[in-house]
């Protein structure tokens, strides 16, 4: 499932597409994050924080080109340690898949098909994600150029549609932001940066600089948040905070010449990105699982990951309190830090210790 060559800019575009979907389906009421112009500060801090979080990974992959985090774990920690790390990554990506699928289900059942069964939506989207994941990283990353081109067109139409109704008085002043909300907002946006873990897993397939690719991704992502905020709050003001999906509302209120209510078209394009979002997590979970369950054939592995992810997503979608608790747990940054900060740090420490030991001992 690994192998193949992916250019770093293709991977950046892939992860951007995946992240954009998360941004477009952001629910303001789900957290206590900040709003107003202070969001711009939070996003700026987010770039710095995301890069700081990745510093151990930068050093590790600068020293070990052509290997991914699991290859290095097996080399450094041995079979048992490597399997433990692979298991950790598998669980993390399964959780990401389930959360992404549950959020997707919530979006679709709220916006498109309010009467539909959540199991049906979860099943179709996870099945699609699993099928896409089976095509491999190269195929997925090549498809993102087309998806991104279509999305940019859709975004341009949306911006053009709402531009006449953007007013500067809609922006809440900076003074309205509080420090705890700023911190909360920073933690929330960082907790969704699972893409670093994905970068670390795909490192053996990347042609290009790991560090540059990740920094470019982070910068563009947070710049995108700022644009999103400027559009949404500039056109809807404080009303945006009461909407479950503000960007969806934005797409539906815009008028493009004589065409109104185009949100169904935009949502269809967003669904492309949503399926990619789930597909990359399914792929990552399968790749991680293949390290400790290598005897399973690829279709069986994908099916197993899909079934587990479906089960977890169904649990989350059916129990909002559990979903909120899981999201809170992710916002503490403990799972993310374990995967993207602690593991690379241990790799650095243990590889240095191994290098210091004299031969034969």
């Amino acid at each position: 499932m690994l192998g193949g060559n992916v250019r770093v800019r293709q991977l950046v575009v892939l992860l951007l597409v995946s992240r954009i979907f998360t941004t477009l389906t952001y629910i303001p009421q789900a957290g206590k994050s900040t709003s107003g112009l202070v969001t711009l500060l939070v996003n700026g801090a987010g770039i710095v924080a995301a890069i700081l979080l990745a510093l151990p990974a930068f050093v590790v992959f600068h020293k070990n080109k052509g290997q991914n985090v699991l290859d290095l774990s097996y080399t450094t920690f041995g079979r048992v340690g490597g399997s433990a790390v692979a298991g950790l990554y598998t669980l993390y990506f399964l959780a990401c898949t389930a959360i992404a699928a549950a959020k997707f289900e919530y979006f679709v059942t709220t916006v498109l098909f309010p009467q539909s069964a959540s199991a049906a939506v979860l099943f179709t989207v996870i099945l699609t994600g699993a099928v896409i994941a089976s095509f491999g990283l190269e195929g997925i990353s090549r498809s993102t150029l087309v998806v991104m081109a279509v999305f940019v067109l859709s975004l341009a139409i949306t911006v053009f549609s709402v531009f006449p109704i953007i007013h500067t008085y809609n922006y809440l002043p900076m003074a309205m932001g509080s420090l705890d909300k700023m911190v909360y907002g920073l933690l929330e946006s960082l907790s969704q940066t699972a893409e670093l873990a994905f970068f670390m897993l795909a490192a053996s397939s990347i042609k290009g600089s790991f560090a540059k690719g990740y920094c470019a991704f982070v910068t563009i992502t947070f710049a995108g948040f700022m644009l999103f905020y400027l559009l949404v709050e500039g056109s809807m003001g404080i009303f945006a905070l009461s909407q479950p999906f503000p960007f969806y509302t934005l797409a539906s209120i815009g008028e493009f010449f004589s065409f109104e209510r185009q949100e169904a078209i935009h949502v269809s394009i967003w669904i492309f990105m949503g399926t990619l979002n789930i597909a990359i997590y399914v792929w990552a979970a399968c790749v991680s699982a293949s390290y400790w369950a290598g005897k399973l054939k690829k279709p069986v592995l994908i099916a197993a990951v899909g079934i587990v992810a479906f089960g977890l997503a169904w649990l989350l979608a059916g129990n909002l309190k559990l979903f909120a608790d899981v999201l809170f747990a992710m916002r503490t940054l403990i799972p993310l830090a374990a995967v993207v900060f602690l593991v690379p740090l241990l790799l650095l420490v243990f590889s240095k210790r191994r290098a210091k030991k004299p031969c034969g001992k």
Partner: protein, 516 residues
């Protein structure tokens, strides 16, 4: 367990009948004996006294000679004039057989296409290819003289690739004539025709055509290996060997191109591709083959660049219509009617109000009926073929709508879809399958289902390769230079600036010589 048993049975079968072996040539090929009578008896026995084998025994200055041919495959007048008449006037010395052999190989100029034959298998292959076989008493080898005179269809305009401003020549069935059509257009010694035989029973001539200074050696080796390992009894059409040349991940879209035109083959070969000609069929195969090539044809390059670009975009739009239009109509009309302008919505609602079926079922039925009519139109003799169009137009276009079984908008959608699908005929099969799939997805899940299906198809196409070259190159991976013949058709002053080599497309794992 089942897989292991299957593999063992296949190995045993291959050991019993290795590829390339025929009934005439078991494990050890039989050599000619030199005793003319014995040889003729053996040949007649192996031919099972078939009525088309003509055997003429003559004596020249005491030397017994047999001339064998398949009836109506040889140019009789040339045989008589160039071989029989001169040969009957020969006189020999002490070693008549050897003298005759020397004369035939050095002095007789009736045919430049001569071969020396040592085994019965080779003898039969030559005889059945229209050669004249000459066996001589005392020689344990024979001669095959190329004097073919069988009837074949004359060169005419290709049926499936019609162009306004391009050559009117299309390939015909004999492979040698097809080879000459290519050679006349590419007058370079770098153009090579590599002959192979495929088919245990049919021994069909297959030719790999490529330019040595353009082709990728790795691709060439792959194609050669695939052709040599084809395990079929008979090969009657290039479609038989096409699946063997495709990459394993080609499900919907073929990574092997098909063409009837020699000018197209020349253009592709000069870009580093390999053409595979098959004797007995006018359809040549081209590898590697990319998705964007389905939208390129000769008229694009003969017309002015702005018009060529416009036609290119019409083809892209037609393909998208033929795949998505019915599914989108079903999805929008069933699940998202608010997308339609009110006036249009009322008209559609009024038309569909009286129909007994759901839009999805209506779309599936009417498209299925259209496929039946299309197939009937292909198979019917021409005088009767007009009846199909009348029946189709009356039954579907008028009677069904008047009776209220289907709605008029659906008929219009069908008409536009059908016409669009014929603009790019090479993608007809894939577009038909996708069309039905999207109708079902749109009917069950609306735009959501179409979006999911589209993503799967898109990623599948992106993951597909053709001999190591991404199938969607140069769209993705993107190459600005190579897009000058995709999104637009730049004029020849720009197109001719740099030689295109398909193996140097972005993302390719094959490279041309000197770049590996």
């Amino acid at each position: 367990m089942l897989e292991q048993i299957k593999r063992r049975l296949q190995t045993k079968k291959r050991q019993k009948n290795p590829p390339g072996q025929t009934a005439f040539a078991p494990t050890n090929p039989q050599h000619l004996s030199g005793e003319l009578t014995d040889m003729l008896i053996h040949i007649r026995r192996l031919f099972d006294n078939s009525g088309d084998l003509v055997c003429r025994e003559i004596q020249i200055d005491g030397l017994n000679i047999a001339v064998l041919q398949c009836e109506s495959m040889v140019n009789g007048e040339r045989l008589n004039r160039a071989f029989i008449l001169p040969a009957t006037g020969l006189t020999f010395g002490a070693n008549p057989a050897q003298e005759f052999s020397n004369w035939l190989q050095s002095e007789m100029v009736a045919s430049t296409d001569q071969a020396v034959v040592h085994t019965y298998e080779d003898l039969f292959t030559f005889i059945m290819s229209g050669f004249v076989a000459v066996l001589v008493q005392g020689l344990n080898y024979g001669f095959a003289l190329g004097m073919q005179g069988y009837a074949y269809r004359s060169v005419s305009e290709p049926n499936y690739e019609v162009n306004e401003r391009a050559s009117r020549e299309g390939f015909v069935e004999p492979i040698k004539i097809n080879m000459t059509m290519i050679r006349r257009r590419l007058k370079t010694p770098k153009l090579v025709f590599e002959m192979l035989k495929v088919g245990r029973v049919s021994h069909t001539d297959v030719c790999m055509c490529y330019q040595t200074d353009q082709v990728s050696r790795r691709t060439l080796e792959q194609v050669r290996r695939k052709l040599k390992t084809i395990d079929l009894d008979v090969v009657l059409e290039s479609g038989y060997i096409q699946p063997f040349l495709e990459d394993g991940d080609s499900i919907l879209f073929s990574s092997v191109g098909v063409t009837e035109r020699p000018d197209t083959v020349c253009a592709k070969v000069s870009e580093g591709r390999i053409a595979v000609l098959v004797d007995g069929t006018p359809f040549a195969l081209i590898v590697p083959y990319l998705f964007v090539e389905n939208f390129q044809n000769f008229d694009d390059y003969s017309k002015r660049s702005y018009f060529g670009t416009f036609i290119r975009w019409i083809k892209y739009a037609s393909f998208l219509f033929s795949v998505f239009l019915p599914g989108l109509y079903v999805a929008v009309a069933t699940f998202h009617p608010k997308l339609l302008p009110p006036v249009l919505l009322f008209k559609i609602a009024a038309a569909e109000e009286t129909t007994p079926f759901s839009l999805m079922l209506e779309a599936l039925c009417i498209h299925f009926i259209f496929e039946i009519m299309r197939e009937a139109g292909l198979r019917l003799p021409r005088p009767v073929g007009h009846a199909v169009s009348i029946v189709g137009g009356l039954v579907i276009g008028d009677a069904a709508v008047t009776a209220g079984i289907i709605g008029a908008p659906m008929v219009m959608i069908l008409a536009l879809t059908a016409i669009s699908s014929f603009v790019v005929p090479s993608l007809y099969e894939a577009s038909m399958v996708l069309r039905f799939a999207f109708i079902v997805l749109g009917g069950l899940m609306g735009l959501y289902g179409i979006a999911l299906g589209s993503m799967i198809v898109l990623v599948h196409m992106c993951a597909q390769t053709s001999y190591g070259i991404p199938f969607l190159a140069p769209i993705t991976p993107f190459s600005k230079w190579d897009m000058r013949d995709v999104l637009v058709r730049r004029d020849w002053k720009h197109l001719g600036k740099k030689t295109i080599q398909v193996q140097n497309m972005p993302g390719s794992s094959q490279t041309s010589e000197g770049k590996e």
